[in-house]
């Protein structure tokens, strides 16, 4: 039984061949410590890492590639941003649709003197930008929000929120884990100050790659999470204060970044719009099947494909999501994710806490036949 992989919102799979080849090539032919030693393989490894910065910068319209800090995923990027920026006495605003990658650092900060406001969203996951405006206080330092929910796929009004924040010189920090590679992101046009992204989802890179864009000037206000060797200013025992070395202590994941470069190049060649259109079509096809079940399926999130990504969360009558997922895996080879998806706040918002939902997340490499088989599996489960 072939696997039908519907867990792309967690990690995209399969990867384009070019991604795997780039990682193998890097380990066979390059292999040195990037920017550390000055010999030819170190220089070549450093060039490769810089090349990834340029490719990512092109995708997000970042003028200077050195404004991008590489991390192991969005979570690390968000931790650098939030723990580095917010101090006791500051106020921060977020939404009721956030992943724990945002919520847990903020709850930690809230227990250490930072004031936190979680703005409620509608049961479909929609955010009213006016509610963000009304939540602002004189001491609000930052607004943190996801670009799209990993539970419902709801696309958040990032540009409107960022415009409100920019008017008052409040930092906008965006979690683009679910959108980098499928939705257009222009940090200048959208007034995004901090952009956290991961490589292992819609950028088709390997796990262990990701990064944080920091707007020029803002790094002066953000302390690094870690300190250590950078290959620069080695005569000093203090951490460098310039980008990106300030935040990149320790040898980076160069083979992973080589894979990320190839994955991002794949996205740029196909075009995020085309990738998103393909994924939307697959998700819509599955939603059509669910909607035809006439009440046996509870579907969460928006139905209009223009306001959502290809993540579909649903429940089937009173069937426990984990039981459904096991049935889909064992009987149909369908691999999905049941439960709370590391986003308890979002499940509270949509009314599916604590049991969670079944989540099918469609990717660029899924087929219509796989969608139809997934729908058949749902019907079989209901008939059981």
């Amino acid at each position: 039984m072939d696997a039908i992989y519907l867990d792309n919102a967690a990690t995209s799979w399969p990867k384009p061949d070019a991604v795997i080849e780039a990682m193998i090539r890097h380990q066979r032919m390059v292999g040195g410590s990037p920017g550390r030693s000055g010999h030819r393989l170190s220089i070549e490894a450093g060039r490769a890492v810089y090349g990834v910065r340029e490719t990512i910068a092109r995708l997000f319209h970042i003028a200077d590639p050195l404004r991008i800090v590489f991390t192991k995923n969005s979570t690390e990027a968000l931790n650098i941003a939030l723990l580095g920026l917010l101090k006791p006495g500051d106020h921060v605003v977020t939404t009721g649709m956030e992943h724990n990658s945002v919520m847990r650092p903020l709850r930690f900060l809230a227990s250490h003197g930072v004031e936190l406001t979680v703005v409620a969203c509608s049961p479909r996951g929609d955010l009213d930008p006016g509610d963000i405006r009304r939540a602002l206080r004189p001491n609000t330092r930052a607004v943190v929000l996801t670009h799209a929910s990993n539970v419902t796929g709801t696309i958040m009004p990032v540009q409107e929120v960022a415009a409100i924040a920019r008017e008052r010189d409040i930092v906008t920090c965006v979690d683009a884990a679910q959108t980098a590679g499928v939705l257009p992101i222009d940090v200048e046009m959208m007034a995004i100050d901090l952009l956290a992204f991961t490589g292992h989802k819609s950028l088709f890179g390997p796990q262990g790659t990701g990064g944080l864009y920091i707007r020029k000037g803002l790094d002066d206000r953000i302390s690094p999470l870690m300190r250590g060797g950078t290959g620069s200013r080695s005569e000093f025992e203090e951490q460098p204060d310039f980008m990106p070395d300030k935040y990149e202590a320790g040898t980076p994941n160069a083979p992973g970044l080589a894979g990320l470069a190839a994955g991002t190049a794949f996205v740029l060649a196909k075009g995020p719009e085309r990738i998103h259109a393909r994924e939307k079509a697959l998700a819509r096809r599955f939603l059509n099947h669910l909607e035809a079940l006439d009440g046996d399926a509870t579907i969460y999130g928006p139905r209009d494909m223009e306001t959502r990504t290809s993540v579909v969360s649903f429940n089937l009558r009173d069937i426990v999501p984990s039981d459904a997922a096991l049935f889909f895996d064992e009987r149909f080879g369908i691999l999905c994710r049941p439960g709370l998806h590391c986003a308890p706040a979002a499940h509270r918002t949509i009314g599916s806490f604590p049991q969670g939902t079944i989540r099918f997340s469609f990717g660029f490499f899924n087929t219509e036949a796989e969608v139809d088989l997934a729908a058949e599996a749902v019907v079989r489960l209901l008939q059981r």
């Binding site: 550390r36 030693s37 000055g38 220089i43 450093g46 050195l66 950078t230 620069s232």
Partner: protein
């Protein structure tokens, strides 16, 4: 660039800045090469950009205002 010619180096803050400088000089047609920072200049373990001292003034002009922080040293 022959090794026996008088040469200079551009010292920058990081490897990324060295690559940016290399691109700027390359675009201007000035031969240059990334090399380890000579020990007598700095104890930094990073790289710098070596070029023929004939281009000293031009290199300074090209990098000024485009690179945040740099220093040119004659070897």
């Amino acid at each position: 660039m022959a090794d026996n010619q008088p040469s200079s180096v551009v010292l920058v803050e990081s490897f990324g800045h060295a690559l940016q400088a290399e691109k700027m000089l390359g675009a201007a047609g000035i031969p240059c090469r990334l090399v380890p920072v000579p020990r007598h200049i700095s104890s930094d373990c990073g790289v710098c950009l070596r070029f023929s001292s004939d281009f000293h003034t031009r290199v300074e002009e090209i990098l000024s205002g485009r690179l945040e922080s740099f220093e040119i040293v004659r070897l």
